[in-house]
């Protein structure tokens, strides 16, 4: 069963958000990395790039496929995870830790409240696979 940490927020596009003050740390969920398979390439934006909610900010590529990654909330990129350039497999091995993708300075921190809780996301993925 996929790992869904309690303290994170989730999108229906299978991204997770960890709130750190006015910064949102974003990555893809365990369920997402498992569906994708071996990640071999991660394309990320540049620091300073601005995104509105539900806009794609990058992509993850497995051997077989390319998937866009969306930011569930609006903001400006404060930092990207540079280590994914050399170690894209972190997205598979540690999706909620070293596999994080971007730190986003939130334009509207209230948007976080509209995301799914861990329990809601778990139900959502269950319904999706049934």
């Amino acid at each position: 069963m996929a790992n869904v940490p309690e303290d994170l927020h989730y999108s229906k596009d299978h991204e997770w958000v960890r709130v750190d003050g006015d910064v949102a740390i974003i990555g893809i969920t365990d369920y997402a990395q498992n569906s994708l398979g071996d990640v071999v390439y991660v394309e990320l934006p540049k620091a300073g790039d601005e995104f509105s909610a539900n806009e794609p900010f990058g992509s993850v590529e497995s051997v077989k496929a390319v998937s866009e990654v969306f930011t569930p909330i609006a903001g400006v990129v404060a930092q990207i995870n540079e280590s994914l350039a050399d170690e894209p497999e972190s997205v598979n091995s540690d999706p909620y830790g070293s596999g994080w993708m971007v730190r986003l300075k939130m334009s509207n921190p209230g948007e976080v409240d509209s995301l799914l809780t861990a329990a809601e996301y778990e139900d959502f993925t269950k319904a999706e696979t049934e």
Binding site: Y31, D38, K64
Partner: protein, 377 residues
């Protein structure tokens, strides 16, 4: 991100190993109307590497088989295919193509000579029906009996440097004596079948054909004999690894690199065009194209900048869109991003710099020699 789900789709065709794949935890996909494993829990990269270093087992039972019997069998198939069937001896197989009058490709296939009056054609899964109709439509006065026996056979491919040792545990057939592209009828684990030294991975290995209802026994016995589960044992491998293995080996995939819009000569398959063997469908067009020269050619390329080229992306040379990637993928063993693409013949030279339009970003690449990977003999 958007996840493509693996739903059970009852309208898809299944091989006799469908439940075996599901029990192993395979992710199943719709492959040309077949419900097939794209990867198992080990993952595509591990499956690919295990096949290169030890052994991989593939269910290729979705491939089609057409049985051709009768005194005119060789003459009949020789008229429909581009390679020279008359060169085969009993127990030999040949890579060939069914060609259109324009010299383009209806399908690529293997022709097995079981006897002077008995051939077995092994064709691609998604083209089986089309091929069968085409083959039947050319059956006129010939003394041959044609049968679509696709559903009767299972086909398992055991590939990799350990393939012979593993398979030998299950058969008295002296495998070392079977040469590349040769085969022998024989028993594997007591099951009657055909053992063929062929494959689609660039490795040594075997393809075993047997009755469909013995597929599961054969599959499980080969996995057991290959010590599956150990870090150096045989791994079941899905279609994703099959694709990356064949691409590293520079082998064309029907529907991607060759189809009814590409001629054999454009696809570098001149070596299976035996223009002097006598008449065959497409011979005239191919002879003319050979004389005039092709305008475009299938080449291999290696991405030299960051990015992964994918199927159908445009090739740009000197700022102009001049061709298309037909197969593009990471190459797990070579640890490079590689691909095959059609480019105008004037650019089809090793060392030529090209760019690939990767979702709006031009990524540098260079034409290289194929095969990308060649095993040490």
């Amino acid at each position: 991100m958007v996840i493509e789900l693996t739903a059970t789709a009852p309208q898809l065709k299944q091989t006799p190993l469908n439940s075996a794949h599901r029990q192993l935890g395979a992710r199943m996909v719709d492959f040309g109307g077949w419900d097939m494993p794209v990867q198992y829990p080990a993952g595509t990269i591990e499956e690919h590497l295990r096949t290169r270093n030890h052994a991989g087992l593939f269910d290729v039972s979705h491939m089609g088989e057409v049985d051709v019997r009768g005194v005119d069998a060789i003459a009949f198939v020789n008229r429909l295919t581009s390679n020279d069937v008359s060169k085969l001896v009993d127990g030999q197989a040949q890579y060939s193509a069914l060609t259109t009058p324009q010299g383009t490709v209806i399908d690529d296939l293997l022709v097995y000579r079981l006897a002077g009056d008995h051939l077995l054609l092994v064709v691609n899964a998604s083209t089986t029906e089309k091929d069968w109709e085409w083959i039947k439509s050319h059956h006129t006065g010939d003394s041959v009996e044609l049968k679509n026996v696709s559903a009767d056979y299972c086909q398992l491919a055991l590939q990799g440097p350990d393939a012979q040792t593993i398979l030998q545990k299950l058969t008295d057939v002296p495998l070392a004596e079977i040469k590349y592209y040769h085969f022998t009828p024989g028993r594997v684990d007591g099951i009657d079948g055909i053992v063929s030294r062929t494959g689609y991975t660039g490795e040594d290995g075997f393809e075993v054909y047997a009755a469909a209802d013995r597929a599961e026994q054969l599959w499980n016995k080969i996995l057991d004999a290959g010590d599956t589960g150990s870090p150096t044992g045989v791994l079941p491998c899905g279609l994703a690894a099959r694709n990356t293995l064949r691409l590293e080996a520079g082998m064309a995939l029907y529907g991607n690199d060759i189809d009814d819009t590409t001629t054999l000569l454009e696809a570098n398959l001149g070596w299976i065009c035996k223009l002097d063997k006598g008449d065959f469908i497409g011979r005239e067009a191919l002879a003319q194209q050979k004389q005039e020269g092709v305008k475009r050619k299938l080449v291999g390329f290696e991405v030299t900048e960051r990015g992964i080229a994918r199927d159908h992306q445009d090739v740009v040379i000197n700022g102009e869109r001049v061709g298309q990637v037909t197969s593009g993928s990471p190459a797990p063993f070579l640890k490079k991003n590689i691909g095959l693409a059609y480019v105008p013949v004037e650019f089809a030279n090793v060392g030529q710099q090209i760019q690939v339009d990767v979702r709006g970003k031009l990524v540098g690449a260079q034409i290289v020699k194929t095969p990308f990977y060649k095993r040490a003999k």
